[in-house]
Each structure stands twice: as C-alpha cells, then as structure tokens.
C-alpha cells in the first residue's frame, strides 16, 4: 500500500490561526450580507411562476426547424395579456440551441379565466409559428402562488428556528447563536448569488436553500462537537486557542467532505440539464459558503460571547478580537 499516494490534503498537523483573521472575515461577511440583502430588493429576486403566478410553456419544433420568436411574441402580445417573455433555450435531446425550442412566459390578468387565457395563447402560438409541441406547461394561479410563497418563507424560517433550538438543546445557547448566525449568513449569501446570476427563484430553489441549511448545520455541528470536546480536554487553554485547535483538527474532514460535495454538484450542474442547473449552482455555492461560515461565523461568535468551560462551570471571559495581538 505504500506506493499509493494517499492525498495528504494538508500537512498532518495544521496550525493555522483562523481566529487571527476573524476580523477581516467578519468585515467581508457583513459587506457581502448587506449587498445580498440589498440585491434582494434591488434589482430583486427573479421570481419563477411558482411564486409569481402565471404561465410558462415550453414549445418546440422538430430539430432543424426554427421558431420565429418575433412573430410568436407579436401574436401573443396581441392578446393583450401584459408582458410576454419569449426565450430561446437549448433542445432537450441534444443540448443544442438551434432556435427550435423556446419558453413562453406570461401572466394571466386579474379577473380573466386562466384556462381560457392559456387556450388563447396556445392558438395564437399556432397561428404565428405553425404547429409546435408543448413539452412542458406550467400554469399557477395567483392564489396558489401566494400560498406557495408564504409556505416557502415559512419553511425557511422554521428551519432556522428549529436548527437554533436543536443546537441550543444539544450544546449551549452560545453555540446556538453561533450556528444560527452562520445559517443566516449562508442563506443570505445564497439569495445574493441567486440574484447575481439571475437564477429563477422557484420551489426547487427553496429546497436547495433548505439543503444548504442542512449542510451548513452539519458542518457547524462537526466543528462544535470538536470544540466542546476540546473545551473539556484543555480546561486552561485560552478560548481562542481552543477554537483554533478545533478548527485545525476538523479541517481535513471539512475540506474532504466539502470538496466531494462540490465536485459532485458540479457534475450535476454540467450534465444534469437545464432544470437542475440553477438548483445545483445554488447548492454548490451554499456548501462553499456553509463551510466558510462554520469556520468564520459560527466559531468567532462563540469567542465573542464566551462560553462555560467543562463541568466546573468556570466562566471564560469574552475575548477581544485583536487583530495582531497574538502571533
């Protein structure tokens, strides 16, 4: 077995001073979080029809034939149903964008019968560009989309609350706050990415964010577990050193697991087709951010807060995050 190059991801015993850079990281995180929050309102999320209501139809002609997008747009616009979006996409069967497939999106105006409007659009499309295949049609009423949006937000909110409760229960309040700060950080930045890449915010995206929450928690728990263990083991070591030690000890695992997940999701983003691309990109980004946050958001917050040490209940003093106070 000696010939096999077991990857030593890192030197066997790393001694990186994570805490030392926590202040820079905090500034970076805060700036990115603010930018992400702002971007959610301006320019705002690109809501999919799940949450906005309306219809989206995928129409295609046989390979080689092209759809006249302008004619299509014009004829649907003539129906006077407000904004109509027509976007060419790659063919599903060979992934080539040859102008034979398009997605038509529109809103059903208030007070008009949804089924009727959809039928009118279908006949307008047929008139404008001839016979097409409808490979995917999604129509969501305004009532349902409103409900979906509420339940999506509820899902995210309750996930965060439950995770907080769980960590509080399993560890200590400080750990809970650290974990939740990390979670919020990850969720907010993932939203920022969704806005930045103009990904469609749909039900699937909510699932992706929930998964990011699950993963980020997973990562945080591993670090916290080691931190708790080391706090018991090294009762006199300064808190910042215990944190650095725990982060270093779990670093190999953090990197191996994170890299595996990201590589696999990259494969999904490349080969998984259009429908999963946004989903896997958001997941991939969320996992990277989640890894970063367990190191630079969760742990430093515990440091700021202080924590009870061991069974004796001796209170460790909160430590000032001096930038260069320690080598």
């Amino acid at each position: 077995m000696t010939w096999w190059p077991l990857i030593k991801v890192l030197p066997q015993k790393t001694n990186l001073h994570f805490v030392k850079y926590a202040r820079y990281a905090a500034v970076l995180s805060v700036v990115l979080c603010i930018a992400s929050i702002v971007s959610c309102f301006y320019p705002g999320l690109n809501l999919g029809i799940d949450f906005r209501g309306g219809a989206s139809m995928e129409v295609s002609k046989p390979a080689g034939q092209t759809i006249d997008f302008d004619a299509l747009r014009g004829s649907v616009n003539d129906l006077d149903i407000g904004d109509v979006g027509v976007q060419g996409i790659a063919r599903r069967d060979n992934n080539i964008d040859d102008g034979s497939t398009a997605i038509v999106r529109f809103q059903v105006p208030e007070g008009r019968d949804q089924t009727q409007v959809v039928q009118q659009v279908e006949s307008a499309i047929t008139q404008a560009v001839g016979e097409v295949r409808y490979s995917g049609v999604e129509v969501v009423g305004s009532k349902v989309s409103g409900e979906l949006f509420t339940s999506g937000l509820l899902a995210l909110g309750s996930a965060i609350v439950l995770m907080f409760a769980y960590i509080w229960f399993r560890f200590e309040p400080q750990f809970g706050f650290g974990a939740v700060a990390g979670l919020l950080h990850d969720v907010i930045l993932t939203f920022g990415l969704i806005v930045l890449l103009r990904l469609e915010f749909s039900l699937n995206m909510v699932a992706a964010i929930l998964t990011v929450i699950g993963y980020s928690m997973n990562d945080t728990v591993v670090v916290f577990d080691r931190l708790r263990e080391n706090l018991r083991k090294y009762k006199t070591m300064p808190l910042r050193d215990v944190i650095d030690l725990s982060l270093n000890e779990t670093l190999t695992r953090t990197i191996i697991t994170g890299v595996t997940a990201v590589m696999v999701l990259a494969a999904l983003a490349v080969f998984g087709g259009e429908a999963l691309r946004g989903f896997s990109l958001a997941l991939m980004f969320g996992i990277i951010v989640g890894t970063y946050s367990s190191i630079y958001v969760g742990a430093p917050i515990i440091l700021l807060w202080g924590v009870k040490r061991g069974e004796i209940g001796e209170e460790a003093k909160p430590v000032k995050l001096g930038m260069a106070s320690r080598p």
């Binding site: 077991l6 995928e58 959809v118 049609v137 899902a155 728990v221 997940a261 080969f271 999963l276």
Partner: protein, 538 residues
C-alpha cells in the same frame, strides 16, 4: 473491535438480502415482473410526473358559486310554493343561506308556514335536516338551509366532486390517475404518462349540470325581456342557434340528478342523439311537466347554462325516457353522454395550478439525471480511493453501494416517487454519505497520531466519531422534515429521498466499515494504520 459482534453481521446480511429483493424488480421488464411468484415484491421505483411525464392539476371547488346556485333554487321553489298555495306575497328577499318571504296578508302566515315546511321536507338519508322554514315577525317566513347543512355543504361538495372527477377520468381511459383531496376545498389530479392534458382539463372543467326547464313563449313577455325587464322567475338565454332569444323559467322541472342512464342514440333521421332515462321521481316529474295542460308548450334542455335543445311537448311521457336531439357529432354526443353518466359536479371546478410535462421531456430528464448520478458516483469513488487508499477507500465505496441499493429498495417499498430534485437529493446523499466515513477515518488518524495502537485508534475512531455523525445527520433530517411539511410535489420527492438517504447512509457507512475493517484487522494483523501519516509510525 476484533471481537466482532455477530448481530452486526446478521443485520448487514439481512439489509443486503432485503435490499436486493426490493430493488431487484427495477431491472426487470413488465412481463418478467408478472412472472414472479406472488410473495416476491414487484414494485419498482415510481417516477414522479416530472420524470415520466404527465399532468398535475390542482382544482378548487367553487363552493360560494354552488351555495349561490342552491339558494337561487330555493328562492324559485319558495316562489312556486307561494303561488300554488295562493298566498299573496310582497317580496322574496335573498339572504345568506336562504330566502325571506314577506307575505301581503299576515293572517296567512300559519298556512304559508305549513306549506313551506312541507317544501323543506324531512331529514335526508343521513338523518340531517337540510332545509327549514321558520316564522319571522308576524308577516314573514324564513326558508333556509340549516347551519348543519351549510357547514356540511363544502365537505360534501368536495367529496362528490372527487367521485365525479374519478368517473369522468375513468371514462377517458387514463390509467393510474390519482385523485386526492387537499385542504378544505381542493382536489389534486395527477395523471401520469402520455395523457392529453387538454382533454383532461376539458372533461374536468365542465360542470355538466343538466336541467329541464319550461320556455315562456308569450311574445309580449319576450319583447319586454329584450327591453330589459325580465320577469323575476325567468331568465333570458339564447337558443342553440346562438341567435334566437329564449325566455326560460328559472324553476327546474327535472335535473341531471334524476338521470339513471344516458346513451348515444340516433334520431329518426339517423343523426346522433342522446337517449336518457329518469329514475322514479324524475319520471313522475317529467310526466307532470308533459301533462296535457302543457301540450303545445316548449321546454328547454340546458347543459351548463347552454340550451342544447328546446322541443315542443307533443304528448305526456309517463315512462321517463326520452331523446335529446340537436346538432352534434358522434364524438360530441359520446363526450356528453360520458359527462351525463359521470354525474354533474355539485359546484364548478377552477383550475388553480396545472403542470404538464411531456414524456419525452421526462425521458431527457431521466437520462441527464442518470448521467450525472453516474459521474458523481465515479468522482466520489475516485476521491475516496485517492484519499484513503484502496482498503479504507474501498470499504467506504462498498458502504456507498449498499447505501444506493438500500435507497432504491426503500423507495420501491414505500412507493415514494423519484423526482428530478429527488435525483439531486440522491447525488447529494452519496456525497454526504462518505462524510461519516471521513469523520471516522480522520478520527482514527488523530488517534494514531496520538500514539495509540492500530486496534485502539480504530476503536476510538468509531466510538468518538459516532456522536458527531448522529448530531450532524439529525440536522439534515430536520431540514428534510421541514421540506416535507411545507413543500409540494417535486420538493417532497427531494425531501423524501434525502430522509431515506440519511438513514441508509449512516447505517451502511458505519456498519459496513465496522464489519469489514474488523475482518481485515483480524486476518491481516496490521502493525500500522494504513491511513495514518507516515511520520507517526516510530
């Protein structure tokens, strides 16, 4: 660790056997599955609509519309009862749940109340008094649905609608359609495969309320109505030609509820027609409507507020049988017959959400999903080999394979459908499944670094990593649970895959590693931990 407990091996073997047994049908063709003996499981993975193609419809029962319609009928019934009993009335006032009749002569209140009580009738088959008449002041009578009936109305309407929708869809010949209730007033219809969503929507979208109502042929009244003063007991409609105005009495003589059977017939000219037959009550009412005093008048046959025919009454029809003639094709006639036989919807259904995926699109998604799963799997395997060598890496790969087998088996067993996000969940599960192994192996490295023997560090690796593994996976379970509660459709599929994956991955990565590594430890009696850093060995 060397002393391997026997139950672990037994559990592992059982998991393997059941896994194979349950996952096995997925690789068989339908005919092979049919040939399996009865006691063997036959269910393969069921694919979600987004993967196999199909339609998802979320329908809402329009309960307010139904209530309004029923109260309309009540008002008309009250009007007719008062007229037939020769009670002079000043007003019929519609209100929530019923109608208030104001009598011109308060002295008639007792007699009128009696007549209205008769109209209200007794309790229905379920023993529920649906309608009641009561005194209001000294000159008014309230005729209304009971509170009990009002509150049951919505629930009954949804139940009836589900039944009707099921019969109609069955008549379309669509197989494996699932029709379920959602919330208080919604119905979810899921039709897999190459079904025609437009036909589905057309069939579901029609209420199929069939009524027979008298036609007012007095030209003077028609003229007045055309000028805007329609008599309160009538309504203006157009004949089947779409032009000729028809003044139609609101009162329903006989309705589709009394229909026992409809069939495609042909009239005397050989054109398609619809034959119908009423039950006892319907036949009596139909006979009364066609009685001698009405001969020469016309009645209209109305389907969903559209006059399909307005024939003359030429003689009393006591048998309760008849024929509707009109200008329809055979196809139209048979669709109408199916609708009539399926029964009327108690209330209109509104399509609130519709998602249709063609089978081809689903197939493409399956292929893309399978390809990326395979690639993802290869990446994980390669990465594990690279990081932990053939032995330890190999052990996690075997755990991963068992994990995959168990996920497929569990999903086949529970009948949960695999959706497109579910595939993503599956891939992610694989990636995170090795996390348990990584945690264990890293712990072993740590222990070896601390100078422990091979056996001791391996033991400690398993023991100390276990708490972390459980903590870390519980958080994933919480996230999946939330998705399951709040999510819909494909997201639920994702949550379900993730949940199953959490259980199987912890089980297989830990147990497989324990059993296999113990076996290796016993047979190879190694001097050093193969994954330990070279420098640690002194």
């Amino acid at each position: 660790m060397v002393q391997q407990s026997r139950w672990k091996i037994i559990v592992l073997v059982l998991a393997l056997v059941f896994g194979v047994l349950l996952a096995y049908p997925n690789v068989l063709s339908q005919s092979q599955k049919d040939a399996l003996p009865g006691w063997l499981p036959k269910n393969g993975l069921s694919l979600g609509l987004d993967l196999q193609g199909g339609s998802y419809l979320l329908l809402e029962v329009d309960v307010p519309a139904m209530r309004a319609k029923r109260i309309d009928n009540m008002v008309e019934d009250a009007r007719v009862t008062m007229r037939e009993g020769n009670f002079a009335t000043n007003a019929f006032q519609r209100e929530e749940g019923g109608v208030v009749v104001t009598l011109a002569n308060p002295a008639q209140q007792d007699a009128a109340l009696e007549a209205m009580r008769l109209l209200a009738g007794g309790p229905n088959q379920q023993g529920v008094q649906e309608r009641a008449a009561s005194r209001l002041g000294n000159d008014r009578i309230r005729y209304a649905f009971t509170d009990q009936a009002m509150s049951a109305m919505a629930a009954t309407a949804v139940d009836q609608s589900i039944e009707v929708v099921r019969r109609r869809i069955d008549s379309l010949g669509t197989r494996e359609t699932s029709i379920t209730r959602q919330g208080a007033d919604r119905i979810v219809v899921q039709a897999p495969g190459e079904s025609d969503p437009a036909a589905l929507e057309r069939v579901i979208g029609q209420t199929a309320q069939l009524t027979f109502q008298m036609v007012e042929d007095d030209p003077e009244l028609i003229n007045l109505a055309l000028q805007g003063s329609v008599p309160p007991d009538s309504v203006l409609m157009v004949d089947q030609d779409g032009v000729t105005p028809l003044l139609i009495k609101k009162r329903v003589l006989v309705s589709g509820e009394q229909l026992t059977r409809a069939s495609v017939d042909s009239d005397q000219n050989g054109r398609p027609a619809i034959g119908f037959r009423f039950d006892g009550v319907g036949a009596r009412r139909f006979a009364a409507a066609t009685a001698s005093e009405n001969i020469g008048k016309r009645f209209a046959i109305i389907l969903d507020n559209r006059v399909i025919s307005a024939p003359n009454i030429i003689g009393t029809i006591p048998s309760g049988q008849g024929q509707i003639t009109g200008n329809f094709s055979i196809a139209e006639a048979s669709e109408m017959v199916n609708l009539l036989n399926g029964g009327a919807l108690p209330a209109p259904l509104k399509v609130e959400e519709r998602r249709t995926v063609s089978a081809e699109l689903g197939q493409d998604a399956v292929e893309a999903g399978a390809l990326s799963t395979a690639i993802g799997f290869v990446i994980i395997v390669a990465f594990m080999f690279l990081t932990y060598g053939f032995l330890f890496g190999g052990v996690s790969v075997i755990g991963l394979l068992l994990n995959g087998l168990m996920i497929v088996a569990a999903m086949s067993l529970t009948g949960a459908s695999l959706t497109l996000p579910g595939i993503a969940g599956l891939i992610l599960t694989f990636a995170v499944a090795v996390d348990a192994n990584v945690l264990i192996y890293e712990r072993m490295r740590d222990e070896a670094r601390a100078g422990r023997s091979v056996i001791a560090s391996m033991d400690a690796g398993f023991n100390k990593a276990m708490g972390t593994i459980i903590d870390a996976n519980l958080t994933s379970l919480v996230a999946a649970g939330i998705m399951f509660v709040f999510g819909a459709g494909p997201v639920r599929g994702f949550a379900w895959t993730l949940t199953i994956g959490v259980f199987t991955s912890v089980f297989s990565s830990v147990l497989v590693a324990q059993v296999l590594l113990a076996w290796w430890l016993k047979s190879a009696k190694p001097k050093k931990l193969p994954i330990a850093d070279a420098e640690t060995v002194k």
